[in-house]
C-alpha cells in the first residue's frame, strides 16, 4: 500500500520561506480584521440608527458578504473590477475581499452586541448626569466589547483560514507559497502537510493569545 | 411498600445521606421537611434510581432499586415523580405531554394514550387546556400538568420534590389542592416540602431531615407539637 516514497528534505529546505509566508498570512489577516472592525462598526451603527439609502447600502453589504462564498468575493475584486478597468494587485485583491467579508460578519456581531446591552444602562448612565458621549464610551461600549470579544476572535481565525484563498488569485501568502513550491518540486503532499501544521499552529497561537488577553481584560 | 435501610449517598467526598432507615406503607402520606442541603431531595432521587447510592438499599414492592439486573425503567412506572422545576416538554401540547410516556413506555395505542391523558388532565383540572402548549400555561398549571403526566403511568407511589417551591405565591394553592386531592384518594405519597401547613394537615407522618440524617419521624401532631429533637424545634421555630 505504501509504495509512495515520502521526500521531506525539499520541504525542510524551504521551511524558512514558508514561515515567512506564514507571517504574511498573519499580516494580511490582521490588516483586514482592522479594516473589517472599523467598517463593521460603522455598518452596525448605520443599521441600528439610520433609515433610508445608507441603511439599505449597509444592509446590502452585510447580506452580500454573508450569503455568497468568500471565493466569489475575491473573484469579484479580481476579475469583476477588471471589467471596469480597475486591476488590483493580488495582495490588494485578498485584502479587499477579506476586509469586505469580515466587515459583513463583524457588523452582525456588533449589532447583536449593541442590542444585548439593555436600554436601562444608557438611561442609568444619563440619570447620573453623563453626556451621551460619556455614556457610550464609558458604559455601553465596554459592555459591547466584552460581548463581541469572543466572536471577533473567531473572526480573526476565519480571516487566517480565508486568506488561503490567496492561492487562487496568485497571492503568495502561506498557501500561495506552498502551491508555488509544490508545483516546482511535485512533492505536493509533503508541502501541503507541513503547511497544514503551520496553519494549525497559527490558529492555536491566536486562540491562546486571545484567551490570555481576555484574562487581563475582563476581570469582572 | 417502600423499604429504605442503611442508605448512604455521597456526591464525591461529600456525604449527603448518612444511613437512612425508613419504611413507607401503601396509602400513607409522608412529608419530608428540613433545611435545604439536608439531603431530603436526594432521598427521592435515590428512591427511583435517578441517583446511584453507595451503601444500603431501597426496596420497592420487593424489588431492589439499585440491584444489578433490575429493570429500572419498569420500576419507575410505579414511582411517579414531580419536580421543583416542572419540566414540561415544550415541544408537545398538554395532551401530548401526558400521552407520550403511556404510548412509548407502556406501549398503549394512540387512542388509549389519548383517553388516559384526557382523564388525568381532567383529574388535575386542566380539561380545557388539552391542546395548549406549555409556554401558554402558568407555572401552577404547568406543575399540575406535570402531576397529570406522572399519574398517567398509573403509579403506585408519587414522589413530590418541592413541587411548589419554584411557584409564585399566588399559584401555590392550586398545586397543593391537587396534591391534597390525591392524598384523599388514597395515593401513597412522599412529599419533600417547605409548606408546613400542608405537612401538618395532610400527612400521616412527618420526617425531619438534618445534615443527611433523619432526626425525627412521627405523626404531625408530635413533630409540630412536642418534637423530641432540639434541631427539629429550632428548624420549626425559624420557618414559622
Amino acid at each position: 500500500m505504501f509504495d509512495y516514497n515520502f521526500h521531506w528534505r525539499p520541504v525542510l529546505k524551504s521551511l524558512p520561506d514558508l514561515l515567512e509566508a506564514g507571517l504574511l498570512t498573519l499580516q494580511v489577516a490582521a490588516l483586514s480584521m482592522i479594516i473589517g472592525i472599523v467598517i463593521g462598526l460603522a455598518l452596525a451603527l448605520i443599521r441600528l440608527k439610520l433609515k433610508g439609502p445608507l441603511y439599505w447600502l449597509a444592509t446590502g453589504w452585510v447580506e452580500l458578504a454573508r450569503n455568497t462564498p468568500a471565493l466569489f468575493q475575491l473573484f469579484f475584486f479580481g476579475f469583476g473590477l477588471g471589467a471596469f478597468g480597475v486591476h488590483l494587485s493580488p495582495f490588494l485583491i485578498v485584502l479587499a475581499g477579506l476586509s469586505f467579508n469580515c466587515a459583513g460578519y463583524l457588523a452582525e456581531n456588533f449589532r447583536g452586541g449593541f442590542q444585548a446591552v439593555p436600554d436601562t444602562q444608557l438611561r442609568a448612565a444619563r440619570s447620573l448626569g453623563m453626556t451621551s458621549w460619556q455614556a457610550y464610551t464609558r458604559i455601553i461600549i465596554p459592555q459591547v466589547f466584552k460581548i463581541v470579544y469572543h466572536p471577533v476572535t473567531n473572526q480573526m481565525v476565519w480571516a487566517v483560514l480565508m486568506s488561503s484563498l490567496g492561492m487562487l488569485v496568485g497571492f503568495r501568502e502561506l498557501s500561495g507559497e506552498t502551491q508555488f513550491f509544490a508545483s516546482r518540486t511535485f512533492r505536493i503532499f509533503e508541502y501541503f502537510a507541513v503547511t497544514a501544521i503551520i496553519y494549525y499552529v497559527i490558529v492555536k497561537i491566536i486562540l491562546v493569545a486571545s484567551r490570555l488577553l481576555a484574562m487581563r481584560l475582563f476581570r469582572y | 411498600m417502600i423499604e429504605i435501610s442503611g442508605l448512604e449517598k455521597y456526591f464525591g467526598a461529600l456525604q449527603v445521606l448518612k444511613g437512612i432507615d425508613l419504611n413507607v406503607q401503601k396509602g400513607e402520606v409522608l412529608s419530608v421537611i428540613g433545611a435545604s442541603g439536608s439531603g431530603k431531595s436526594t432521598l427521592l432521587y435515590c428512591i427511583n434510581g435517578l441517583e446511584p447510592i453507595q451503601k444500603g438499599s431501597v426496596v420497592v414492592d420487593g424489588t431492589d432499586v439499585h440491584a444489578k439486573g433490575t429493570d429500572i425503567n419498569k420500576l419507575r412506572q410505579k414511582l411517579g415523580m414531580v419536580f421543583q422545576q416542572w419540566n414540561s416538554f415544550p415541544h408537545l401540547t398538554a395532551l401530548e405531554n401526558v400521552a407520550l410516556a403511556p404510548r412509548i413506555v407502556k406501549g398503549k395505542s394512540k387512542a388509549e394514550a389519548k383517553e388516559i391523558a384526557e382523564k388525568q388532565l381532567k383529574h388535575v383540572g386542566l380539561e380545557d387546556k388539552l391542546n395548549v402548549f406549555p409556554n401558554a400555561l402558568s407555572g401552577g398549571q404547568q406543575q399540575r400538568l406535570a402531576i397529570a403526566r406522572a399519574l398517567a403511568m398509573e403509579p403506585t407511589y408519587m414522589l413530590f420534590d418541592e413541587a411548589t417551591s419554584a411557584l409564585d405565591p399566588e399559584l401555590v394553592g392550586e398545586v397543593l389542592d391537587t396534591m391534597r386531592l390525591l392524598a384523599e384518594e388514597g395515593m401513597t405519597m412522599i412529599c419533600v416540602t417547605h409548606e408546613m401547613g400542608f405537612a401538618r394537615d395532610v400527612s400521616d407522618r412527618v420526617a425531619f431531615f438534618h445534615k443527611g440524617v433523619m432526626e425525627e419521624i412521627g405523626p404531625p401532631a408530635q413533630i409540630f407539637g412536642q418534637a423530641e429533637s432540639e434541631n427539629t424545634r429550632k428548624f420549626l421555630a425559624n420557618v414559622r
Binding site: 462564498p69 471565493l71 466569489f72 469579484f76 487562487l168 | 413506555v105 407502556k106
Partner: protein, 220 residues
Amino acid sequence: MNQTISFFSGFNVNDFWFLGEAALRTLWISALSVTIGTVLGGFFGWMLYEGRLWATLTLAPVLDIFRSVPLIIQLVLFYNFAPIVGLDLDPFGSGTVILTIYTAALVANVARGGIEAVGKPMRRAARSLGMSYWQDMRYVVLPIGGRAVFPAWVGVALGVMKDSALVSVLGYVELLKASQILITRTQEPFLILSIAGAFYFALSFPISRYAAQLEKRWAQ
C-alpha cells in the same frame, strides 16, 4: 473599452446552461456532504457529550484539526494523499469526503450544544416516567435540543454550500469554476460573476432569513 456593448457579446444561451449544470453540481456535492456530515457530526457530538475519556482525548483534537486548517489545504492534501494509500478518488469523491468530514466537525459542536441545551432536570423528568435512555434521546432530547440548535445547523449547512466552491481547486467544475472558465473564454467577468453570485445569494439569503425568524419565534 466600451462596456455597454461588450456586455452580451461573448455570452450565449449555451453558456447559461453550462452555468446551470455547474450550479446543480454545487447543489449536489453540498447536499450530499451536508446530509452525511450531519449524521456523522450528530454521532460525534453525542460521543463528545457523553464525554468518555477516549472521546475527549482522541475525537475532540481530531475534529479540531478540521476546524483549524483551511478547507482548501485539506482538499489538496487529501486529494494527493488518497492515491498514496491506494484510494482511487476523482475530484468529486475527494471533495465529498473532505466536505463531509468538515461538516461533521462543525456539526459535532452544534450537536453537543443541542444536547447540553436540554438540561439535566428535563432529562430526569423523562427518565422518571420510565423512559429508557434511548427513548429520552428520541422523544425529548432530539426535538428540544434539535430546535435549540436548528438555526446554528442552518448556518453550518449554508457555510458548507458556499465553501463547496473550493472543490474547484481539484478541478471539479462547480459553479465558480464554471464561471472562471467562461470568464476566460468570453471576457465577460462582471456579467458571469453576477449570475453566479445571484445564485448563491438566492439560495442562502432566504434560508438564513427563515432560520433567523424561527430562532426569534422559538425564543419566546
